[in-house]
């Protein structure tokens, strides 16, 4: 039976979660602008508040007070519903994300399944926005988003499954904190990531998850669905004011989500390095929990920083290259990872055999992918010519000595 106190507590939790997420999103926009500015040798926001800290607030006020414009031909319901359809799943994801041991709104034993199910929903909203904007660029962007997000969801799912297989649980709390389970009379105990984070055990999974996550977010170098120089703003091109702000909000919530998922699955969440061992055994549980949550947030912001760093560094892939990379590289790699994990578990090999096999595999794949485009022999296509005098006295350009 659901009691009233549970309902009230959950509602309070959801409210607190929403407030926390807003703060995080505002801080992330500020962080991204500052980081990008540093990469690009600019100052970034610096006028509103100290170091421009209040700039996101000013932006939010400006966006919320702006006029909402709907194109004349756009179907009213689809156009206004699309942002909701995008932001709702991104918000609902957070219900089961633990920020510490027991520090979550709703514990779910099949939490990872819930994550997978909800994170795919976002694409519906983007497609609605693309179709409902009655704009050709939006439509192109919407279909690009659909193709991209559906393709890159697969490696993410397979990596999550690999982690679940390794941990023998679909509960995120178990992934971080460890547990013991008995299947068919065989007891498996998983120590959690307090000692060794999964990144060292399953580097292949980490790489696949992070790259596919970038694509799932539509972040550089996979930002084709809102590529400014091609489809201008993709599905968002016709939106303005508060509705555009909602898309923006969802985008940063998703960035934060992928960063958090990476940290929870591979960097030990709140438990690595173990806060209890840092503070000593006699520390009060509140302090241990607080330090764990601080660990988690520090790591999440670091991963988000890497995502922003990518944005300041890379050009954008083309859609066929993006799809080829997803289907030909990431998906096979994610399956290889899954099979590897299953094999190691089945035969009871020691855990260190996993990185021993997967790191060389990853290196070989990276080398092949790199050579495909950046082969030094293929790159030398520009030769140097200099002035020389022909037999008849004309000055012409001839290959410089030493250039073939």
């Amino acid at each position: 039976m659901v009691t009233w106190s549970e309902v009230v507590l959950t509602a309070l939790g959801l409210g607190a979660l929403f407030a926390a997420l807003m703060t995080v999103v505002l801080s992330l926009t500020w962080l991204e602008r500052k980081l990008l500015a540093r990469i690009q040798r600019r100052a970034g926001p610096s006028v509103v508040g100290p170091h421009g800290l209040l700039q996101p607030v000013a932006d939010a006020i400006k966006l919320l007070t702006k006029e909402d414009v709907r194109p004349a031909d756009a179907p009213r319901f689809l156009f206004w519903f699309a942002p909701v359809m995008v932001v709702l799943p991104s918000y609902m994801l957070w219900v089961i994300i633990p920020f510490g041991d027991g520090l979550l709104v709703r514990a779910m034993e099949l939490g990872l399944i819930y994550l997978i199910a909800l994170s795919v929903l976002e694409v519906v909203g983007l497609l609605l926005a693309g179709w409902g904007s009655a704009s050709k660029y939006s439509l192109l962007g919407g279909f690009r988003a659909a193709a991209q997000l559906v393709s890159y969801e697969i490696p993410i799912i397979i990596v999550i499954i690999a982690v679940a297989v390794f941990v023998q649980s679909l509960d995120l709390r178990d992934v971080v904190g460890g547990h013991a389970t008995t299947i068919a009379g065989r007891t498996m105990s998983y120590a959690g990531q307090g000692g060794v984070p999964l990144a060292l055990v399953m580097p292949l999974g980490l790489v696949v998850l992070f790259i596919a996550g970038l694509a799932e977010l539509g972040r550089t170098p996979f930002d084709i669905h809102h590529a400014e120089s091609e489809v201008v703003g993709g599905p968002f091109v016709e939106y303005s004011g508060a509705h555009w702000a909602v898309f923006y909000l969802a985008e940063y919530m998703n960035t934060f989500f992928i960063a958090t998922l990476t940290v929870l699955l591979f960097f030990g969440g709140w438990s690595w390095p173990s806060p209890a061992s840092v503070l000593g055994d006699s520390a009060p549980p509140l302090a241990v929990n607080a330090l764990g949550a601080a660990w988690l947030m520090a790591k999440v912001y670091a991963v988000a920083g890497v995502i922003f760093w990518f944005r300041g560094t890379y050009p954008r892939l083309r859609i066929d290259q993006l799809m080829a990379f997803g289907w030909q590289v990431l998906i096979p790699l994610s399956f290889a990872n899954l099979i590897l994990v299953a094999t190691v578990l089945y035969y009871g090999w020691p855990t260190w055999t996993l990185p021993l096999i997967s790191v060389p595999l990853l290196a070989v794949v990276a080398r092949v992918a790199f050579r495909r485009y950046a082969d030094p022999r293929k790159m030398k296509t520009v030769r140097m010519f200099t002035r020389s005098t022909r037999a008849d006295g004309e000055t012409v350009l001839a290959p410089q000595a030493g250039e073939s």
């Binding site: 050709k136 954008r316 140097m384 200099t386």
Partner: protein
Amino acid sequence: MTARVPGAAGSPQTLDMMVNMGPQHPATHGVFRMELAIDGERVVGLIPHIGYLHRGSEKLCEHEIYSQIITLFDRLDYVSNFNNELGLVLAVEKLMEIQVPERASYVRMILCELNRIASHLLFVGTFALDAGAMTPSLYTFRDREMIQALFEATSGARMMHNFFRVGGIKEDVADDFVVRVDRLLGELERGIDEVDGMLSFGEVLLARTKGVGVISGPDAIDWGMSGPCLRASNVPYDVRVDEPYCLYDRVEFGVPVGTQGDSWDRYYTRVVEMRESVKIVRQCLAQLQPGPIMAQLRRIARPPKGEVYAHAENPRGDFGVYIVSDGGERPYRLKVRPPSYCNLMPLRDLVVGSYIADAVVILGSLDIVLGEVDR
């Protein structure tokens, strides 16, 4: 362009979609407009539209005296203004058979080569933006700004200089010119290396530009392409070497020539060209001697009756000026051969059959300036 019939052989029951790219699209570098017919992500047809920036410059020239025309030429290719001015004054000087003082020629070469670097820097930045990288553009704009600061110190204007004159230059450069340019060159070299290292050999850029928009050498010649776009197609032709003007025969420099004729070669020839321009400016500074800066002339140039064609190597290619003079102080007819316009010609052949994203990169690699295309 033929929109394909739905249900025709090899095509499902779909219609091609018409998409208007431009004149207000971020990737069209101004007010160029492409009417694209797309089948999914593939471009199956393209109609280019130009003329949004048409100001009738050539007709206007017929009503101005030659020293006033210089200001109109500043506004043709508005990112390589000195080179444009040079094209005009070269033509008039050729018609009047004027011997330009050496110092003036050297200063012209220095300014033109710096302008070439500024123009190519702008190209590298916008090309990176087209390919989706935002950082290089900010780096190149920083370096370009230093060049423009020097231009402002020299001519009084960042872009619309009105500095070259028939027979020389408007006024002598400042005393610290040589020192300043020398310092600038060092900073430019650093900046060019920085952007080159950041962008040129990145896998993503290589993947996006290698083999994209390939045009063969003979085709490029047939279309009338020139400059880096022509040289990228393995055609070694540079006006500075083949028909030297100013004092280009007194400096040593290399000319990069591509072998593939793809977008990456068009990009990289420009990067290498910037380094060669730095070398040219260094040699000019070393050879720069005090002396007169203007030939002895009447105040208002009045070329003899006749016609003349002179051309110079602009950052975008072979910039030609054809003047018909009736002996008056205004040209009877003035025609510009704009390199951007000619380089734009093969656009449809290059783009049709590729992806939308390629269309953006190819247009970017041709590096057009609409002020010159539309005139």
